[in-house]
């Protein structure tokens, strides 16, 4: 495999006493997609913000083309230029006072592209996201959610990035529009060979978009491996719980209504040991005492009872 564009090595991010990202190691390669899946508070969005340089790591190292960039300086600037980002909410992430042309050209201005080339470049970018023929002088509010997300993607592509970080790129969109945006991302990757990081709470989206999938829980990567392996033969009890919670695709295969009625209590984090041990049906004393390491070759899992089927 070609060397990674971005590498994270045991990156930790703490906000006050809260560890949002806990010793996460990941590698992002050109032309390939890493999907990160997990529920709210699992650290997936903080991981994205660390990668694009919007947050600095508390410990650990981020490398862009081999050069550490987590803190500041020239490497950070180079990394920021080479990493584009697409945000979840196309209604909030585009500045309503800017025209579409200004939104798309903003990265060009910031990174000193000559103003003479600007108009041509904006048109080219809008073409590439299926928005040819629109007036760059129009405002984002004049477009639908799907079109706004296309404008957001055009901006992310402005500086010919090597990597595009997509944080829940379709969660705010209508179902019938989501597929158009996901296909556009697949197509841009095929044409430009960009690496993609796709962050989503939706396992279907992540599986379909990705070569490799990482499952996060409480700031940790608890399982990681080829997309098919992780989603078809999950090894971590949390990954299995996530898959089991996905609704069926027809009334003939209802999966959820016959589940045992689960009670919900006041959330309490595990003080030591495996963070999932407070919810895990397989948890034993060792789980409450010792944090499991992410282990394995191709398909890795952080669990003291990996591969044990739940009773």
């Amino acid at each position: 495999m070609t060397p990674p564009i971005v590498e994270l090595e045991r990156v930790t991010k703490r906000f006050g006493g809260v560890t949002a990202v806990d010793e996460v190691s990941l590698a992002l390669h050109p032309g390939r997609t890493l999907g990160v899946v997990g529920e709210s508070g699992c650290g997936k969005s903080t991981t994205a913000r660390l990668i694009v340089g919007l947050e600095r790591p508390s410990t650990g190292e981020l490398r862009f083309n081999g050069a550490p960039y987590g803190r500041s300086g020239r490497a950070l600037r180079a990394a920021r230029k080479a990493i584009g980002m697409i945000f979840q909410d196309p209604y909030e992430s585009l500045d309503a006072r800017f025209t579409v042309g200004d939104v798309v050209a903003e990265p060009l201005d910031t990174h000193g592209v000559r103003r003479g080339e600007r108009a041509d470049r904006v048109r080219e970018l809008l073409d590439s996201v299926g928005m040819s023929g629109i007036d760059p002088g129009a405002y984002p509010a004049q477009f639908s959610g799907g079109q706004r997300q296309r404008i957001g993607i055009a901006r992310a592509l402005a500086l010919d990035p090597e990597l595009v970080v997509c944080d829940e790129p379709t969660s705010a969109l209508d179902v019938s529009v989501q597929a158009q945006i996901l296909n556009l991302l697949l197509e841009l990757q095929r044409e430009r060979g960009v690496g993609l990081l796709v962050i989503s709470h939706d396992l279907h989206v992540v599986r379909r978009m990705s070569d490799e999938v990482a499952v996060m829980y409480a700031g940790m990567v608890v399982e990681q491996g080829p997309a098919e392996a992780v989603t078809r033969s999950p090894r971590h009890p949390y990954t299995r719980a996530l898959l089991d919670a996905i609704p069926g695709t027809s009334p003939a295969e209802r999966r959820l209504r016959d589940r045992p009625r689960a009670a919900e209590g006041i959330a309490s984090a595990a003080a030591a040991g495996c963070p999932y041990s407070t919810r895990c049906p397989l948890a034993t004393d060792v789980c409450r005492a010792e944090k499991p390491a992410l282990e394995g070759d191709d398909h890795r899992v952080a669990c003291h009872h990996a591969d044990v089927p739940a009773a």
Partner: protein
């Protein structure tokens, strides 16, 4: 069996904008009907009309809504207040906004008993804690003293369900109650709703954009697009032989997502749902791969395609 909810020919208007056009449906007691649609489909306006909770400026312009035989469209004042709650309860998507932020959760449930049955505070507190336990809240006495912001989204939704049970509403409108929740929490709330239906015979009108949720909860389904019901029938029928091109496309998004190989393109529907102006004729025609001459001109009537199963599409009309 008789229908607990009967909606006949209901249209909802906000000034010049018609959000719902001539919607008719019926839900049997103890059953769940899902109304599925995207933004602008009219599903929330229809639900708000049934609950008589349309915002100022919105009105039921035509048709009738009967709950347990009572026509709620004409109710006013004290009659309307009594109907809201006893006849129709409402589970909102945004539980943070629906609960009172300055009252402990248990007290909000207890107040229902006080208002409804006139019981004293100590008795209402006891009943509230018991009900919180029934909706799967652990250490209910402790949680009863907590404020909404101290609870997770799933716990708040459980408190909302407890309030609806306290009201003993005949019909419960669930307006995307799990959309903002994590998928593992959604699964628990859906299982809870099914269990409560079995125990208490609750009748649900369940509003959602998610065909997976429909598959899990619905006995019958109404698919809405551009303010109209375009397909309606028993869930098994609608999923088994979807007859409207829009329903077929929506189902393809769910099934494709579950089965296709990684990095292969997704099946798509061109364009976006109508916002503001609803196209003439069949509202779906600008996005439909099968559109032909009559589609932009004539609104298709609902055609029977199976037992209690109808769809509004010119492809199904006579001679096609």
């Amino acid at each position: 069996m008789s229908a607990l909810l009967e909606v006949s020919g209901v249209s909802v208007r906000y000034g010049d904008f018609q959000a719902v056009t001539e919607a008719s449906l019926a839900v049997e007691e103890g059953h769940t009907m899902a109304i599925v649609g995207e933004s602008g489909s009219g599903k929330t306006s229809l639900a708000l009309a049934v609950a008589r909770l349309l915002p100022p400026g919105g009105e039921i312009a035509a048709g009738a809504v009967r709950v347990d035989g009572v026509d709620v469209t004409g109710l006013r004042g004290a009659d309307l207040r009594r109907a809201r709650g006893r006849l129709v309860g409402y589970l909102a998507q945004d539980s943070m906004a629906a609960l009172n932020p300055v009252l402990p959760a248990g007290l909000q449930v207890a107040e229902v008993f006080e208002t409804r049955d006139g019981v004293r505070r100590s008795e209402s507190r006891r009943q509230a804690i018991e009900l919180l336990g029934q909706v799967g809240i652990q250490r209910a006495a402790e949680v009863a003293r907590m404020y909404p912001h101290e609870l997770s989204g799933g716990m708040r939704q459980r408190v909302m369900i407890a309030m609806a049970l306290a009201l003993r509403s005949r019909l419960l409108i669930a307006d995307e109650p799990t959309t903002a929740l994590d998928v593992t929490v959604q699964a628990e709330i859906l299982a809870l709703a099914a269990a409560l239906q079995a125990d208490h015979g609750v009748t649900f009108l369940w509003i959602t954009h998610d065909m997976g949720v429909v598959a899990e909860v619905a006995d019958t389904v109404a698919v809405m697009y551009g303010g109209r019901i375009v397909e309606q029938g028993p869930a098994g029928e609608v999923f088994g032989s979807p007859s409207h091109p829009y329903t077929q496309a929506l189902l393809e998004t769910v099934r494709g997502g579950a089965e296709a190989a990684p990095k292969t393109p997704f099946a798509t529907i061109a364009g976006a749902p109508p916002a503001g102006v609803i196209p003439p004729g069949c509202p779906f025609h600008p996005r439909c791969a099968h559109a032909f001459e009559p589609c932009p001109e004539v609104v298709p009537a609902i055609v029977e395609v199976g037992p209690a199963h109808g769809a509004a599409c010119h492809l199904l009309g006579a001679g096609r």
